[in-house]
């Protein structure tokens, strides 16, 4: 067979062999990945989709740092039992500002794509401090140090600016006031609180998340957990039965 004959010659040329490997290995990615950037239907357009506030972003970065994705998915599939257990299935647009996405691949614990608003802040604080205090048979690690570690807010402006470079629509005012907004979101009675609502929208939650006086990592994580599934209301208003 001539194909085998051609290969018989190809395997005498190392550089030619490498080029052939690159060509053969490139096709799959080009066909499956490149169109995801060009086909408009890939990501829905949701008018009320908002960006993370600096406090929520800081919480998300702690979620990343602690490797929570290893046990919790944030992607509800289009399956009846998942929709009934967790809520409307996840839309692509809901993670369009997620660098990286945290869809996860394993549910040692439950999916948390729609966790926001399901439990009180107090429950989250108690659960993160010692999961077995609220769920006796839980096997989640305890994160007691979150409540005792003060939150680093000074460089949050640089984080927002980096994300803007990558396409997340943060404004100049959001970037300039990031540390102030992070503090104000957890201080609803402060003067700066109104600015947070002005910049991030009426739907932004302003609360003393951890209940403590100092702004800690616990505030950021709870603020993030409470916004999961709440960046847009579109999944709850449109028909999402698979």
């Amino acid at each position: 067979m001539s194909l085998f004959k051609a290969h018989y010659n190809l395997e005498k040329h190392s550089v030619g062999f490498v080029v052939a490997i690159i060509l053969a290995a490139s096709v799959g990615g080009l066909v499956e990945i490149a169109p995801l950037f060009t086909i408009d239907e890939t990501v829905e357009t949701l008018p009320d989709m908002r960006v993370y506030t600096p406090l929520e972003l800081a919480g998300r970065n702690i979620y990343i740092r602690e490797g929570c994705y290893a046990c919790h998915s944030q992607m509800i599939r289009t399956l009846r039992d998942e929709v009934e257990r967790y809520g409307p299935y996840s839309l692509a647009a809901e993670s369009q500002y997620d660098h990286p996405m945290l869809w996860g691949s394993k549910r040692t614990g439950p999916d948390i794509a729609r966790l926001g608003g399901k439990y009180s802040d107090d429950w989250h604080v108690a659960h993160l401090t010692n999961p077995r205090a609220v769920v006796p048979t839980s096997i989640m690690p305890a994160y007691p140090w979150l409540a005792t570690t003060s939150l680093a807010v000074n460089d949050l402006g640089a984080h927002l600016a980096t994300l803007r470079t990558l396409g997340v629509p943060y404004t100049d005012a959001m970037i300039a006031n990031a540390p102030r907004d992070a503090l104000a979101q957890a201080r609803p009675d402060s003067e700066a609180a109104a600015d947070v609502v002005e910049r991030y929208g009426e739907a932004t939650t302003l609360r003393r998340f951890s209940g403590a006086d100092e702004l800690t990592e616990m505030d950021a994580v709870v603020a993030y957990l409470q916004v999961l599934g709440q960046l847009t209301q579109a999944p709850y208003t449109t028909e999402t039965t698979p």
Binding site: L36, A70, P100, S105, S138, P141, L166
Partner: protein, 541 residues
Amino acid sequence: MIACLTPSERRIGLFLAVCLALLGLVMAAVGKQDPMAVHGFMALVLGGGLFFAIGGTLEEPAPDAARLHRYYDDPIKVGIVLAMLWGVFAMSIGLWVAGLMVWPDATFGKAWSSYGRLRPVHTTGVIFAFGGNALIATSFHVMQRTCRARLADQLSPWVVLIGYNLFLVWAVSGYLMGVTQSKEYAEPEWYADLWLVIVWLVYLVLYLRTLKRRAEPHIYVANWYYLAFIVVVAMLHIVNGLALPVSFAGAKSYPVFSGVQDAMVQWWYGHNAVAFFMTSGFLGMLYYYLPVRAQRPIFSYRLSIISFWGITFFYLWVGSHHLHYTALPTWVQNLGMTFSIMLLVPSWASAGNALATLNGAWHRVRDDATLRFMFVAAVFYGLSTFEGSFLAIRPVNALSHYTDWTVGHVHSGALGWLAMVTFGAFYSVIPQIWGRAGMYSPRLIEWHFWLALAGLLTYVFSLWNAGITQGLMWRTYNAAGTLNYSFIDSMEAMRPYYIARFLGGALFLAGICVGAVNIWLTIRGAQDVAGDRPFAPQVAE
């Protein structure tokens, strides 16, 4: 070992050590309080240590010219020892995280020891540290023997080995400090990723330069697989690692892709890390050590060609099967499923080719535990690839995804295939390059084999059961038409399986510890056999 380098190689090595120390100094200086500074300090210490080690040998005489008529095996020896050390370390961490599933408070209340930080230490440690060092070491061995040529120079193998292990130390220590991108199997941050690109390019250039010096007209099939491993892993790593650091003075970066595109790129990478790191490279190992140990030629040359190009072409399409029923467009999911099923053909062609090679040597499989390791590896390669294609079918995936079935599947590949073929290859190569008549104790190889097999079977059976139970409980409805089990019900049901998995892991870990002791006793003994020499001597410089 350093005295084996030529004077000019020592000078270049000295220069590189200074560069590494300076890089570390800069990272430590700009990083200040950031974890990146700790990594800079590590590079500084390593660069400084190498500087003094090499500097002390500058005045020593040039090595004997006869070395050019021998293979260069020193980096292989170091690579094998590193692989075994990492293997014992990473599997111990694996046992610990398996224990956390049963005893969740076994973290001492410390941040570094929580499950989310230890888990990537285990995965990176086994796949990239144990597996990676084994691949680098055996590739140096296989390329020299199948080309009948000495490594192209004596310095770049060390750049590859030392550079790669620095990357690993950065990665693993980074996770413990909370430095991670949370991209599965691609957790290290931007500077470690960039460093790996440099190391990998040196590796590719060294491989091609050595191939160029070969005394054989044809490039042997094992080298095709090692080449695909090097080239495609570079491609995947660069695209998936694209990220923008918040500041060049800190570790934190944001990946350039987001949401659905990031998910697709991540699993295009993730599944092909399985394909080209955990499969292709180890097939290279299998294609050399199995026929050598069995003393039989490869069953079919044409089957080798079909399976090689099938794997190299099909695998890159299948990543989307990790994203069935998600927000990824359905057309991509369906392509992923289709190619996953087609992939079974080249996968089983490889496994079948390996098993058919053993025809006429079954008595050796029975008597020789080293060959039996590779036989079991080929069987589990066939089983795992079948399971992989099966799990990629959408309705099956609806049940299995997000459950422990996936974890069981990965371990059937990682323990049953990757680790088994590595042990077989190590027991074949160690006596040869250290100049021993055989391993210190054949009985200990038997012990290792049976411990590993018992551990493997205990592990995968417990997690198959766990995963299917989980998947079924999540979708069980009662007579009233509502979900029958809460999530916590399904978690509680896992406990016996998690205990069984812990025991399986303990057996496998005990096996590798026996192997490490046996290897240590073998290389500690005196040399009794001369090493082999190239048939056609090549001039190195």
